[in-house]
Protein backbone atom coordinates (compact mmCIF):
# COMPACT_ATOMS: atom_id res chain seq x y z
CA UNK A 1 0.00 0.00 0.00
CA UNK A 2 1.39 3.37 -1.04
CA UNK A 3 0.33 5.53 1.88
CA UNK A 4 1.63 8.86 0.57
CA UNK A 5 -0.33 8.45 -2.65
CA UNK A 6 -3.34 7.41 -0.59
CA UNK A 7 -3.09 10.58 1.55
CA UNK A 8 -2.87 12.80 -1.53
CA UNK A 9 -5.85 11.05 -3.13
CA UNK A 10 -8.01 11.41 -0.03
CA UNK A 11 -7.07 15.07 0.44
CA UNK A 12 -7.82 15.88 -3.18
CA UNK A 13 -11.16 14.07 -2.93
CA UNK A 14 -12.04 15.92 0.31
CA UNK A 15 -11.12 19.32 -1.14
CA UNK A 16 -13.07 18.64 -4.34
CA UNK A 17 -16.07 17.41 -2.34
CA UNK A 18 -16.10 20.45 -0.03
CA UNK A 19 -15.22 22.96 -2.73
CA UNK A 20 -16.20 22.12 -6.27
CA UNK A 21 -19.15 19.82 -5.54
CA UNK A 22 -20.46 21.67 -2.48
CA UNK A 23 -23.03 23.77 -4.33
CA UNK A 24 -24.50 21.03 -6.50
CA UNK A 25 -27.70 19.27 -5.48
CA UNK A 26 -27.10 16.08 -7.45
CA UNK A 27 -23.49 15.12 -6.81
CA UNK A 28 -21.38 12.03 -6.14
CA UNK A 29 -19.66 11.40 -2.82
CA UNK A 30 -16.01 11.03 -3.85
CA UNK A 31 -14.99 9.79 -0.39
CA UNK A 32 -17.66 7.08 -0.52
CA UNK A 33 -16.32 5.99 -3.90
CA UNK A 34 -12.79 5.84 -2.46
CA UNK A 35 -14.08 3.88 0.54
CA UNK A 36 -15.51 1.18 -1.73
CA UNK A 37 -12.45 1.33 -4.01
CA UNK A 38 -10.02 0.54 -1.18
CA UNK A 39 -12.46 -2.00 0.30
CA UNK A 40 -12.57 -3.82 -3.02
CA UNK A 41 -8.90 -3.62 -4.08
CA UNK A 42 -6.86 -3.67 -0.81
CA UNK A 43 -5.89 -6.24 1.77
CA UNK A 44 -8.22 -6.43 4.78
CA UNK A 45 -5.93 -4.63 7.25
CA UNK A 46 -5.17 -1.85 4.76
CA UNK A 47 -8.85 -1.53 3.91
CA UNK A 48 -9.76 -1.09 7.60
CA UNK A 49 -7.20 1.70 8.04
CA UNK A 50 -8.27 3.43 4.82
CA UNK A 51 -11.94 3.19 5.83
CA UNK A 52 -11.39 5.03 9.11
CA UNK A 53 -9.04 7.55 7.47
CA UNK A 54 -11.56 8.33 4.73
CA UNK A 55 -14.26 8.59 7.43
CA UNK A 56 -12.07 11.10 9.27
CA UNK A 57 -11.69 13.11 6.05
CA UNK A 58 -15.48 12.99 5.54
CA UNK A 59 -15.95 14.30 9.09
CA UNK A 60 -13.53 17.17 8.41
CA UNK A 61 -15.84 18.46 5.67
CA UNK A 62 -19.09 17.36 7.38
CA UNK A 63 -21.35 18.99 9.97
CA UNK A 64 -19.73 17.34 13.00
CA UNK A 65 -16.75 15.19 13.91
CA UNK A 66 -17.39 11.53 14.68
CA UNK A 67 -20.44 10.21 12.77
CA UNK A 68 -18.71 9.60 9.43
CA UNK A 69 -15.55 8.05 10.88
CA UNK A 70 -17.70 5.48 12.67
CA UNK A 71 -20.07 4.76 9.77
CA UNK A 72 -17.30 4.67 7.13
CA UNK A 73 -15.03 2.66 9.44
CA UNK A 74 -17.74 0.14 10.26
CA UNK A 75 -19.09 -0.46 6.76
CA UNK A 76 -15.66 -0.15 5.11
CA UNK A 77 -14.34 -2.87 7.42
CA UNK A 78 -17.40 -5.03 6.72
CA UNK A 79 -16.77 -4.57 3.00
CA UNK A 80 -13.11 -5.54 3.48
CA UNK A 81 -14.12 -8.77 5.24
CA UNK A 82 -16.75 -9.41 2.56
CA UNK A 83 -14.00 -8.99 -0.03
CA UNK A 84 -12.29 -12.05 1.47
CA UNK A 85 -15.29 -14.10 0.35
CA UNK A 86 -16.60 -12.30 -2.72
CA UNK A 87 -14.41 -10.57 -5.31
CA UNK A 88 -16.21 -7.55 -6.73
CA UNK A 89 -14.61 -6.79 -10.08
CA UNK A 90 -17.44 -6.19 -12.56
CA UNK A 91 -18.61 -2.60 -12.88
CA UNK A 92 -22.34 -3.23 -12.25
CA UNK A 93 -21.50 -5.06 -9.01
CA UNK A 94 -19.14 -2.25 -8.01
CA UNK A 95 -21.93 0.26 -8.68
CA UNK A 96 -24.36 -1.77 -6.59
CA UNK A 97 -21.78 -2.00 -3.78
CA UNK A 98 -21.27 1.76 -3.83
CA UNK A 99 -25.03 2.36 -3.78
CA UNK A 100 -25.68 0.03 -0.85
CA UNK A 101 -22.63 1.22 1.10
CA UNK A 102 -23.69 4.82 0.47
CA UNK A 103 -27.17 4.18 1.88
CA UNK A 104 -25.88 2.27 4.91
CA UNK A 105 -23.14 4.76 5.82
CA UNK A 106 -25.54 7.64 5.23
CA UNK A 107 -28.25 6.21 7.48
CA UNK A 108 -25.81 5.42 10.29
CA UNK A 109 -24.12 8.84 10.00
CA UNK A 110 -27.55 10.52 10.12
CA UNK A 111 -28.52 8.59 13.25
CA UNK A 112 -25.21 9.50 14.89
CA UNK A 113 -25.75 13.12 13.86
CA UNK A 114 -29.12 12.94 15.61
CA UNK A 115 -27.22 11.86 18.69
CA UNK A 116 -25.05 14.96 18.38
CA UNK A 117 -28.12 17.11 17.56
CA UNK A 118 -26.56 18.20 14.27
CA UNK A 119 -29.40 17.45 11.92
CA UNK A 120 -29.96 19.01 8.49
CA UNK A 121 -33.33 20.78 8.29
CA UNK A 122 -35.06 18.50 5.77
CA UNK A 123 -34.64 16.30 2.70
CA UNK A 124 -32.08 14.01 4.36
CA UNK A 125 -33.34 10.76 2.89
CA UNK A 126 -33.89 12.15 -0.60
CA UNK A 127 -30.42 13.69 -0.60
CA UNK A 128 -28.89 10.46 0.67
CA UNK A 129 -30.58 8.43 -2.07
CA UNK A 130 -29.50 10.93 -4.74
CA UNK A 131 -25.87 11.01 -3.61
CA UNK A 132 -25.70 7.20 -3.37
CA UNK A 133 -27.21 6.82 -6.82
CA UNK A 134 -24.93 9.40 -8.39
CA UNK A 135 -21.88 7.85 -6.68
CA UNK A 136 -22.92 4.42 -7.94
CA UNK A 137 -23.18 5.68 -11.51
CA UNK A 138 -19.89 7.59 -11.52
CA UNK A 139 -17.87 5.52 -9.03
CA UNK A 140 -16.83 2.51 -11.17
CA UNK A 141 -15.42 4.88 -13.81
CA UNK A 142 -13.30 6.63 -11.17
CA UNK A 143 -11.86 3.29 -10.10
CA UNK A 144 -9.70 3.16 -13.23
CA UNK A 145 -7.71 6.40 -12.63
CA UNK A 146 -7.56 5.50 -8.91
CA UNK A 147 -6.04 2.12 -9.77
CA UNK A 148 -3.44 3.87 -11.92
CA UNK A 149 -2.66 6.48 -9.23
CA UNK A 150 -2.34 3.88 -6.48
CA UNK A 151 -0.28 1.61 -8.74
CA UNK A 152 -2.56 -1.29 -7.93
CA UNK A 153 -2.40 -4.16 -10.39
CA UNK A 154 -5.59 -6.11 -10.78
CA UNK A 155 -5.10 -9.85 -10.95
CA UNK A 156 -6.19 -11.31 -14.28
CA UNK A 157 -7.16 -14.94 -14.20
CA UNK A 158 -4.95 -17.14 -16.33
CA UNK A 159 -6.37 -18.99 -19.31
CA UNK A 160 -4.79 -22.18 -18.15
Amino acid sequence: MRWFRFAVLVLVAAVLQAGLLENFDFKPDLLLILLVFFGVYCRTSDAIITSFTIGFAADLIGPAMGPQIISFGLFGSLLAYLHRVIVIRKMPYQALTIFITGLLTGVLAHLLNLLKERVPASGVWGGLFGISLCSAVIGPFLFLPSLWWMRIRTHRPSRY
Partner: protein, 252 residues
Protein backbone atom coordinates in the same frame (compact mmCIF):
# COMPACT_ATOMS: atom_id res chain seq x y z
CA UNK B 1 -7.76 -5.44 17.25
CA UNK B 2 -6.96 -2.70 14.74
CA UNK B 3 -10.67 -2.24 14.06
CA UNK B 4 -11.40 -1.97 17.80
CA UNK B 5 -8.78 0.73 18.37
CA UNK B 6 -9.89 2.75 15.37
CA UNK B 7 -13.55 2.43 16.39
CA UNK B 8 -12.63 3.61 19.89
CA UNK B 9 -10.91 6.63 18.36
CA UNK B 10 -14.05 7.31 16.36
CA UNK B 11 -16.25 7.10 19.46
CA UNK B 12 -13.93 9.48 21.32
CA UNK B 13 -14.26 11.94 18.43
CA UNK B 14 -18.04 11.50 18.45
CA UNK B 15 -18.49 12.16 22.15
CA UNK B 16 -15.72 14.74 22.59
CA UNK B 17 -16.96 18.32 23.16
CA UNK B 18 -17.86 20.11 19.96
CA UNK B 19 -15.55 23.07 20.63
CA UNK B 20 -12.54 20.71 20.68
CA UNK B 21 -13.46 18.60 17.65
CA UNK B 22 -14.32 21.72 15.65
CA UNK B 23 -10.62 22.62 15.72
CA UNK B 24 -9.89 19.80 13.28
CA UNK B 25 -12.47 21.16 10.85
CA UNK B 26 -11.22 24.74 11.22
CA UNK B 27 -7.62 23.60 10.71
CA UNK B 28 -8.63 21.78 7.51
CA UNK B 29 -10.58 24.79 6.26
CA UNK B 30 -7.67 27.15 7.05
CA UNK B 31 -5.08 24.89 5.40
CA UNK B 32 -7.06 24.35 2.21
CA UNK B 33 -8.96 27.63 2.04
CA UNK B 34 -7.42 28.59 -1.32
CA UNK B 35 -8.40 25.43 -3.29
CA UNK B 36 -11.75 25.32 -1.45
CA UNK B 37 -12.62 28.91 -2.39
CA UNK B 38 -11.61 28.32 -6.01
CA UNK B 39 -13.76 25.19 -6.21
CA UNK B 40 -16.75 26.94 -4.67
CA UNK B 41 -16.48 29.95 -6.97
CA UNK B 42 -16.29 27.66 -10.02
CA UNK B 43 -19.35 25.68 -8.93
CA UNK B 44 -21.28 28.88 -8.06
CA UNK B 45 -20.50 30.41 -11.44
CA UNK B 46 -21.62 27.17 -13.10
CA UNK B 47 -24.87 27.26 -11.19
CA UNK B 48 -25.48 30.95 -11.86
CA UNK B 49 -25.88 30.17 -15.57
CA UNK B 50 -29.29 28.66 -14.83
CA UNK B 51 -32.37 30.43 -16.20
CA UNK B 52 -33.03 33.56 -14.10
CA UNK B 53 -36.68 32.57 -13.53
CA UNK B 54 -35.61 29.86 -11.10
CA UNK B 55 -33.29 32.09 -9.07
CA UNK B 56 -34.06 34.71 -6.45
CA UNK B 57 -31.66 37.03 -4.68
CA UNK B 58 -30.09 35.65 -1.50
CA UNK B 59 -31.71 38.40 0.58
CA UNK B 60 -35.14 37.67 -0.83
CA UNK B 61 -34.55 33.96 -0.33
CA UNK B 62 -33.61 34.54 3.32
CA UNK B 63 -36.68 36.72 3.84
CA UNK B 64 -38.96 34.12 2.30
CA UNK B 65 -37.38 31.33 4.31
CA UNK B 66 -37.71 33.28 7.56
CA UNK B 67 -41.33 34.03 6.68
CA UNK B 68 -41.98 30.34 6.00
CA UNK B 69 -40.28 29.31 9.25
CA UNK B 70 -42.33 31.84 11.22
CA UNK B 71 -45.49 30.66 9.51
CA UNK B 72 -44.67 27.06 10.36
CA UNK B 73 -44.17 27.96 14.02
CA UNK B 74 -47.47 29.87 14.07
CA UNK B 75 -49.19 26.86 12.55
CA UNK B 76 -47.72 24.58 15.24
CA UNK B 77 -48.90 26.98 17.97
CA UNK B 78 -52.39 27.21 16.49
CA UNK B 79 -52.59 23.42 16.20
CA UNK B 80 -51.65 23.13 19.88
CA UNK B 81 -54.32 25.67 20.86
CA UNK B 82 -56.92 23.98 18.72
CA UNK B 83 -56.07 20.58 20.21
CA UNK B 84 -56.24 21.99 23.72
CA UNK B 85 -59.61 23.68 23.11
CA UNK B 86 -60.98 20.54 21.46
CA UNK B 87 -59.94 18.53 24.52
CA UNK B 88 -61.46 21.03 26.94
CA UNK B 89 -64.79 21.26 25.14
CA UNK B 90 -65.06 17.50 24.93
CA UNK B 91 -64.22 16.99 28.58
CA UNK B 92 -66.57 19.50 30.21
CA UNK B 93 -70.10 19.72 28.91
CA UNK B 94 -71.24 23.03 30.27
CA UNK B 95 -73.87 25.21 28.71
CA UNK B 96 -72.62 28.66 27.90
CA UNK B 97 -69.06 28.04 29.03
CA UNK B 98 -66.12 29.18 26.98
CA UNK B 99 -62.44 28.65 27.46
CA UNK B 100 -60.05 31.49 26.79
CA UNK B 101 -56.53 30.18 26.25
CA UNK B 102 -53.79 32.45 27.54
CA UNK B 103 -50.02 32.39 27.64
CA UNK B 104 -48.19 33.05 30.88
CA UNK B 105 -46.21 36.29 30.56
CA UNK B 106 -44.73 36.25 34.04
CA UNK B 107 -44.94 33.78 36.90
CA UNK B 108 -44.14 34.51 40.56
CA UNK B 109 -43.95 31.15 42.25
CA UNK B 110 -41.18 31.63 44.79
CA UNK B 111 -41.74 35.07 46.32
CA UNK B 112 -44.15 36.49 48.88
CA UNK B 113 -47.05 36.34 46.39
CA UNK B 114 -47.85 33.47 44.07
CA UNK B 115 -49.40 34.76 40.90
CA UNK B 116 -49.33 34.67 37.12
CA UNK B 117 -49.64 37.48 34.60
CA UNK B 118 -51.41 36.24 31.48
CA UNK B 119 -51.80 37.79 28.03
CA UNK B 120 -55.60 37.93 27.93
CA UNK B 121 -57.78 40.64 29.53
CA UNK B 122 -61.11 42.43 29.38
CA UNK B 123 -60.97 42.43 25.61
CA UNK B 124 -61.17 38.65 25.69
CA UNK B 125 -64.05 38.50 28.15
CA UNK B 126 -62.05 37.96 31.31
CA UNK B 127 -63.45 39.18 34.64
CA UNK B 128 -62.50 39.00 38.28
CA UNK B 129 -62.98 35.70 40.16
CA UNK B 130 -63.13 33.54 37.04
CA UNK B 131 -61.50 30.14 37.45
CA UNK B 132 -58.21 29.40 35.73
CA UNK B 133 -57.24 25.89 34.59
CA UNK B 134 -53.79 24.52 34.04
CA UNK B 135 -53.36 20.95 32.81
CA UNK B 136 -57.14 20.47 33.37
CA UNK B 137 -56.92 21.38 37.08
CA UNK B 138 -57.83 24.61 38.84
CA UNK B 139 -54.65 26.59 39.47
CA UNK B 140 -56.19 29.85 40.66
CA UNK B 141 -58.66 32.62 40.02
CA UNK B 142 -58.47 35.89 38.14
CA UNK B 143 -57.71 38.62 40.68
CA UNK B 144 -57.11 41.70 38.50
CA UNK B 145 -58.10 42.40 34.93
CA UNK B 146 -56.74 44.99 32.56
CA UNK B 147 -57.55 45.58 28.92
CA UNK B 148 -55.06 43.10 27.45
CA UNK B 149 -53.68 41.32 30.53
CA UNK B 150 -54.87 39.79 33.75
CA UNK B 151 -53.42 38.66 37.05
CA UNK B 152 -54.15 35.17 38.33
CA UNK B 153 -53.93 34.54 42.03
CA UNK B 154 -52.65 31.02 42.44
CA UNK B 155 -54.17 28.57 44.91
CA UNK B 156 -50.81 28.52 46.72
CA UNK B 157 -50.89 32.28 47.39
CA UNK B 158 -51.33 33.15 51.08
CA UNK B 159 -54.31 35.42 50.36
CA UNK B 160 -56.12 32.79 48.25
CA UNK B 161 -59.39 31.44 49.70
CA UNK B 162 -61.02 28.74 47.64
CA UNK B 163 -64.12 26.76 48.54
CA UNK B 164 -63.27 23.09 48.10
CA UNK B 165 -64.69 19.69 48.81
CA UNK B 166 -63.06 16.40 49.70
CA UNK B 167 -65.64 13.69 49.31
CA UNK B 168 -68.76 15.09 50.96
CA UNK B 169 -66.85 17.37 53.28
CA UNK B 170 -66.56 21.05 52.28
CA UNK B 171 -64.00 23.57 53.50
CA UNK B 172 -62.03 26.66 52.58
CA UNK B 173 -58.54 26.08 51.25
CA UNK B 174 -55.85 28.70 51.71
CA UNK B 175 -52.48 29.04 50.07
CA UNK B 176 -49.49 27.98 52.11
CA UNK B 177 -46.69 29.02 49.76
CA UNK B 178 -43.89 26.69 48.67
CA UNK B 179 -46.15 25.08 46.11
CA UNK B 180 -48.72 23.88 48.67
CA UNK B 181 -52.13 24.82 50.04
CA UNK B 182 -53.75 23.99 53.36
CA UNK B 183 -57.13 23.50 55.00
CA UNK B 184 -56.94 24.43 58.67
CA UNK B 185 -59.15 23.22 61.48
CA UNK B 186 -61.12 20.75 59.41
CA UNK B 187 -63.78 18.82 61.23
CA UNK B 188 -63.28 15.59 59.35
CA UNK B 189 -60.23 13.49 58.93
CA UNK B 190 -59.31 12.68 55.33
CA UNK B 191 -56.92 10.18 53.85
CA UNK B 192 -53.65 10.94 52.09
CA UNK B 193 -54.21 10.75 48.35
CA UNK B 194 -57.83 11.94 48.48
CA UNK B 195 -58.73 14.35 45.69
CA UNK B 196 -59.62 17.94 46.48
CA UNK B 197 -62.17 19.63 44.18
CA UNK B 198 -63.15 23.26 43.71
CA UNK B 199 -66.88 23.42 44.52
CA UNK B 200 -69.22 24.69 41.88
CA UNK B 201 -69.96 28.37 42.01
CA UNK B 202 -72.91 29.82 40.07
CA UNK B 203 -71.84 31.96 37.11
CA UNK B 204 -68.24 30.86 37.51
CA UNK B 205 -68.05 27.07 37.74
CA UNK B 206 -70.83 24.63 36.85
CA UNK B 207 -69.30 21.43 38.21
CA UNK B 208 -66.48 20.53 40.60
CA UNK B 209 -62.99 20.48 39.13
CA UNK B 210 -59.94 18.94 40.69
CA UNK B 211 -57.55 21.27 42.52
CA UNK B 212 -55.08 18.87 44.09
CA UNK B 213 -54.54 15.88 46.35
CA UNK B 214 -54.17 15.52 50.09
CA UNK B 215 -50.55 14.82 51.03
CA UNK B 216 -50.84 15.18 54.79
CA UNK B 217 -53.57 15.20 57.42
CA UNK B 218 -52.61 15.70 61.07
CA UNK B 219 -54.45 16.86 64.17
CA UNK B 220 -54.17 20.54 65.12
CA UNK B 221 -51.83 21.17 68.05
CA UNK B 222 -54.16 23.63 69.81
CA UNK B 223 -57.40 21.85 68.93
CA UNK B 224 -56.64 18.10 68.92
CA UNK B 225 -60.14 17.25 67.63
CA UNK B 226 -59.68 19.29 64.48
CA UNK B 227 -57.43 18.51 61.51
CA UNK B 228 -54.87 20.42 59.45
CA UNK B 229 -54.81 19.20 55.86
CA UNK B 230 -51.99 19.91 53.41
CA UNK B 231 -52.86 19.86 49.70
CA UNK B 232 -50.52 19.54 46.77
CA UNK B 233 -51.80 21.15 43.53
CA UNK B 234 -52.74 18.68 40.78
CA UNK B 235 -50.84 20.77 38.25
CA UNK B 236 -47.13 21.54 38.20
CA UNK B 237 -47.64 25.28 38.38
CA UNK B 238 -43.96 26.16 37.98
CA UNK B 239 -43.84 24.40 34.63
CA UNK B 240 -47.00 26.11 33.30
CA UNK B 241 -46.66 27.93 30.00
CA UNK B 242 -50.31 28.39 29.18
CA UNK B 243 -53.64 28.35 31.00
CA UNK B 244 -57.34 28.26 30.15
CA UNK B 245 -59.76 30.72 31.76
CA UNK B 246 -63.37 29.57 32.18
CA UNK B 247 -65.71 32.29 30.95
CA UNK B 248 -69.35 31.50 31.72
CA UNK B 249 -72.29 33.05 29.84
CA UNK B 250 -70.12 35.37 27.85
CA UNK B 251 -72.01 38.35 26.38
CA UNK B 252 -71.41 38.53 22.65
Amino acid sequence: MLFTWLMLAGLILLFAPQNITNRFQFAFARTFRWPLSIGRSISLSARSQQPPDDVVARREYNQLRNYADNLEQTLIQERKRSKKLYGLYNKYIWDGAEFVLAEVIRASTDGPSFELIIDRGQNNGLAKDQFVLGDDAVVGTVSDVWLHQARVKLITDASSNLAVQIGRFKAVMKGAGAGLAKIELAKHRVRTGDNVYAVKKPAFLDSPIIVGTVINCQSNQEHPLLWDITVKPACDIEALEGVAVIVMNRQK
